[in-house]
Symmetry: C2
Subunit: 115 residues, 2 copies
């Protein structure tokens, strides 16, 4: 846990945030600046600064984040139409909160490249 980290504060319940999913490993909520009709964030309860900071023992957590992404896509009704999952790492990636998070976006068609 990181005292000042925004997402750690959400994990601790210090910033009331409606959760759309939670388990022992992660929580998920809607992005406050959505880039698509469906735009959810999935974050680990443990503070991992970014994908570049993930250790080998974080593999199970990373796998769970991706499985939960697919589950949320089902719950939101975009599994059949399709969706994009994104992790931004560091400055070039456009990471804005330095607590690892997976974006799940859908409900519209995405162009290629990815930003």
């Amino acid at each position: 846990m990181n005292q000042s980290c925004l997402f750690c504060r959400i994990v601790r319940g210090e910033i009331p945030t409606p959760l759309i999913y939670e388990d022992e490993i992660c929580i998920a909520f809607n992005d406050i600046n959505p880039q698509a009709p469906v735009h959810a964030l999935i974050i680990p309860r443990d503070h991992i600064t970014s994908l570049a900071h993930a250790r080998p023992q974080d593999g199970a957590t990373l796998g769970q984040l991706m499985l939960v992404a697919a589950r949320i896509a089902e719950d939101k009704g975009i599994a059949a139409s399709g969706y994009r999952t994104v992790i931004n790492t560091g400055a070039d990636g456009g990471q804005s909160v330095f607590h690892l998070h997976v974006h799940v976006l859908g409900g519209r068609a995405f162009g290629w490249g990815p930003g």
Copy 2:
């Protein structure tokens, strides 16, 4: 394994492709249509059609794909500058090969939203 799947054929060595990483779970190679100076694809050796087709028991594989993404970013020299990792699922996501793959892109700054 899927007989006609392009990426299964690369896994089997039927389409000669320089690999930039391989282990028991996955292989990685450069995208033939790069969207950034660094653009690699990481694919599981086993055929998983898309993230929407991943089963709970595929969690370890998904985690390994993401850890390998971070490792490739290190190898390619973009870990410090930053990078974006993307999985496209289905039509809206822009998935073009129906064998799960993680895009790792870097060497330039990415805008937001993600396509």
